[in-house]
């Protein structure tokens, strides 16, 4: 025997004779005729279990895992094959067993210890540890019959884990005790394994197995179906259990909502079963009535498509109450039923919303935020915004920065806020530029930095923000964040004034004599500091000078690059029709795709029309 092995199992098989009904015939006495058949429970199993391993044994009811454990514990003998073990073995296949109800907990510890094969003297040295571990010292001298089932379970478990065995077999006993005790037990198993003992666990609690076991085997039809690291085997097993059509069907028939939903999916996809829309519908309805959240949403959708809005809303409501985001969105939209995002919602309904499209991502995020009921919903919205921002959506970048600043859906993170604001400001998002400028100027959220604040203000002013024109002018005048420059100060003061008169200038231009080109050009020239794409374009059409035209196109490109959608659309038009500049379709499409990348729905739609 390999010295590193605790147990060596070679070719063990075990079968039982069982009695089954033989047809419907009845004997004279009225009993159903029966016949004996051989049921092979374990079929030629070989396995090495190493010292220090915590081995989990998985399998469905009747798969043979309890028989396997019984054979390891020597309670049953295999029909053939051999088992070698090293060291002392303690089997706990049932906790409460071996307690005498009339004897005290303390006496029972001794008795039970002796049942495990320890002398009274050995138990004397352990009794205090056991009592402490069980956590029922107060009651230890009362008769066991006065204990609750949880208490006797804990006592039994404490004895089992504290007697010194080299191999411990545990069968489905972790349901005893409360959560605290259970995690204590979990810890204990891990420590035992570390000290070189071997633990074998049978449990249906897959989560527990995944946490505790180092290795797992999965027994199916009397054979080891899978053997490997516990997490891998547990996941495989879980998948199998979830996907196995027979299991799902059985569970669905017995009214388990989750299984009904799964079965409905099988019928929908023609998975394991033949496609059957009626059965799909039937099981979805059953699952929805049984309050499976996903099924409620799907069933609501089905009702909605049949025009039964009221019934649908009821199911959405029920799902929304239990936290389904989609249901909440739908409830919100159906309840208001007029939102601008109705189309997007219907797209989401149909599942056609493009997950990688920054525009839709942003709008979806917006919708999530608007319909958020709880912090976790806001968190979800934040994640969605961050995704859109990562994909280049300007609005999302700004939104993410704001959420970081205010701690909505995430924790307050000024550093992250700064990063996103900078990114948005670099592209040219006016909100981001001005906010960041303010923040640097105030020095409250981030360290004060007048130079950066000035640079940003200048950027905002150049992009036509009137308030910042004034600020820049004042900064030049006072030398705040930049060198004193009275000339530039004067220029920005006049821009500020002109920008304030933008509306009047435009009106004046409209009313001017259309043939008086010089007057019109002069008026339009004065509007340029406001960086309004409309007036720039008007000026473009008016002017004859190629030089002026280049300058105006340059301005347009600047604000388009900064993310001004109107400018982008205008530029794309200008390049597409080729009247003012040389026709260049590539350039035109380029601007549209830039626009859709930073999140303009109109650019995206127009680009879609072109393609």
């Amino acid at each position: 025997m390999d010295p590193s092995n605790a147990i060596e199992i070679r070719n063990i098989s075990k079968s039982f004779k069982i009695t089954v009904a033989a047809g419907d015939k009845k004997t004279v006495t009225g009993k159903v005729k029966t016949k004996r058949v051989v049921n092979t429970v374990l079929d030629d199993i070989s396995l090495d279990i190493k010292k220090g391993e915590v081995l989990g044994i998985l399998g469905r009811n009747g798969s043979g895992k309890s028989t396997f454990l019984s054979i390891l514990a020597r309670i049953m003998e295999p029909d053939s094959g051999t088992i070698k073990r090293t060291g002392k073995l303690a089997a706990v296949l049932e906790l409460g067993m071996g307690f005498h109800p009339d004897m005290s907990g303390r006496d029972n510890i001794y008795t039970k210890g002796e049942l495990y094969g320890f002398s009274k003297k050995e138990m004397d040295s352990k009794i205090e540890t056991i009592i402490d571990y069980s956590g029922i010292r107060k009651y230890i001298d009362n008769p066991v019959r006065t204990y609750s089932s949880g208490m006797s379970g804990r006592l039994a478990f404490s004895i089992m884990v504290n007697v010194e065995s080299d191999i411990i077999l545990v069968d489905e006993v972790l349901s005893v005790g409360d959560a605290a005790f259970s995690s204590k037990a979990r810890q204990h198993f891990i420590e035992m394994a570390e000290s070189g003992k071997t633990v074998l666990i049978v449990s249906h609690n897959i989560k527990f197995m995944e946490d505790v076991c180092t290795r797992a085997i999965w027994i199916e039809n009397g054979k080891i179906a899978l053997d490997g690291p516990a997490d891998e085997v547990c996941i495989e097993y879980q998948n199998k259990i979830n996907e196995s059509p027979e299991i799902v069907y059985d569970l669905a028939q017995s009214g388990v909502a989750d299984a009904q939903y799964k079965l409905a999916q099988f019928y929908r996809d023609g998975n394991h079963f033949e496609k059957d829309p009626d059965k799909y519908r039937y099981w979805i309805e059953s699952a929805a009535v049984k309050k499976n959240v996903r099924a409620q949403v799907v069933w609501g959708d089905m009702l909605l498509s049949e025009g039964k809005e009221k019934e649908a809303l009821e199911f959405y409501h029920s799902a929304a109450e239990r936290g389904d985001v989609e249901a909440r969105t739908k409830v919100a939209v159906l309840s208001s039923s007029k939102g601008a995002d109705a189309k997007l919602v219907s797209d989401i309904f149909k599942g056609s919303y493009a997950r990688d499209d920054p525009v839709d991502e942003h709008r979806y995020a917006q919708l999530l935020l608007n319909t958020a009921w709880s912090d976790s919903d806001r968190g979800r919205a934040f994640v969605q915004f961050a995704k859109a921002a990562d994909d280049g959506n300007l609005q999302s970048m700004y939104q993410v920065a704001l959420m970081c600043r205010d701690g909505i859906g995430t924790s307050r993170d000024y550093h992250m806020m700064e990063g996103w604001l900078e990114r948005a400001a670099n592209i040219g998002h006016m909100g981001a530029i001005t906010l960041l400028a303010d923040i640097y100027a105030q020095g409250r959220l981030l360290p004060k930095d007048v130079h950066r604040s000035f640079d940003l203000s200048l950027r905002a002013a150049e992009l036509g923000n009137r308030d910042f024109m004034y600020r820049v002018a004042v900064a030049y005048r006072d030398g705040n964040g930049t060198d004193k420059d009275t000339e530039k100060a004067a220029k920005w003061f006049s821009s500020y004034e002109l920008a304030g008169m933008y509306d009047q200038l435009i009106v004046a231009e409209r009313f001017a004599d259309p043939s008086d080109k010089d007057l019109r050009a002069e008026l339009l020239e004065k509007t340029l500091c406001s960086m309004n794409p409309e007036s720039i374009c008007e000026y473009l059409e008016l002017t004859d000078s190629a030089e002026k035209r280049d300058q105006l196109i340059g301005l347009l490109r600047r604000i388009a690059t900064a993310g001004n959608t109107a400018a982008i659309l205008r530029l794309s038009e200008i390049y597409a029709d080729g009247k003012l500049v040389e026709r260049n379709e590539e350039e035109s499409k380029g601007w549209l795709s830039y626009g859709s990348k930073i999140g303009s729905a109109r650019c995206r739609d127009r680009l879609g029309m072109l393609q």
Binding site: I75, E94, G98, M103, T111, K112, L115, K120, P143
Partner: protein, 262 residues
């Protein structure tokens, strides 16, 4: 075959703690819930003895002189044998949960039950012997031979308990069959009458009954004050050997299926 029997014996020795625990549970657990507890093991035989003394000293319904001594000398060992005859078939079956959930040499269950009832019997028997001595009844040195017969009887009881307990797992009817048979043994054993008073076919049947030899030996040693004759001692020694060997063979053969049959 013998090698594996040897390991089984060693294992049994290693499981002596289990045996101790089971016996203690049986002896001390029995009256645990009562006020005086273990004392009941003494009180019950005393009460029995008083009843026999009063009834048979005053009523004198039997021709045998000092009938209460005659009766008491055989009654306690006989009750011990009958108790185990009645309980024997159920020793594995009633411990089903334990057999199915724990490993230990199965025979320990039988040994512990037989031993604990033996201890209880010894307590009562000693009390009655002291009482007989105190009453002035002439006891002789033959009494010193008692332990030999008691131990042989213990082995005999162990033998048939092994057989009955193992078979009952497979055929539950055994339990009820034996229970009804044990009634018959009350009349086929010379408990209330002297063996010398019986003759004919009834006498032959009584001599086939193995319990007869033990009860008769106790009568000889206590009531008659003589050592049992060679024939009695021979039978008392032969019977346990036969039953123990048969018991071990049957039990070892059948124990494989205990857990799955229960």
């Amino acid at each position: 075959m013998f090698a594996s029997f040897k390991t089984e014996l060693r294992e049994m020795y290693e499981s002596r703690n289990v045996l101790r625990a089971l016996i203690r549970k049986d002896l001390f657990g029995r009256y645990k819930n009562s006020a005086i507890g273990f004392a009941w093991h003494f009180i019950i035989p005393i009460v029995m003895m008083v009843v026999y003394y009063v009834v048979f000293q005053t009523v004198r319904a039997n021709a045998i002189p000092d009938f209460w001594v005659f009766l008491a000398s055989g009654l306690f060992p006989f009750n011990f044998m009958m108790t185990n005859l009645n309980r024997g078939p159920g020793m594995i079956v009633t411990n089903g949960p334990m057999v199915k959930k724990m490993y230990f040499p199965r025979a320990i269950l039988i040994i512990s039950e037989v031993l604990s009832s033996f201890i209880i019997m010894l307590i009562g028997y000693s009390i009655i012997l002291v009482a007989i001595a105190l009453s002035g009844y002439p006891l002789t040195w033959a009494v010193l031979f008692l332990p030999v017969i008691l131990v042989l009887m213990l082995v005999f009881v162990l033998g048939y308990s092994l057989i009955l307990s193992a078979i009952t797992v497979y055929m539950r009817d055994i339990q009820y069959l034996v229970n009804s048979l044990s009634m018959v043994f009350y009349f086929l054993t010379p408990m209330y009458f002297s063996l010398s008073d019986v003759s004919g076919i009834f006498g032959t049947i009584i001599l086939i009954n193995p319990f007869t030899y033990y009860v008769e030996s106790f009568h000889q040693m206590i009531y008659h004050g003589v050592l049992p004759d060679a024939m009695l001692v021979g039978m008392c020694a032969l019977i346990p050997v036969l039953f123990l060997v048969a018991g071990i063979i049957v039990f070892r053969r059948l124990k494989r299926g205990f857990a799955e049959r229960l």
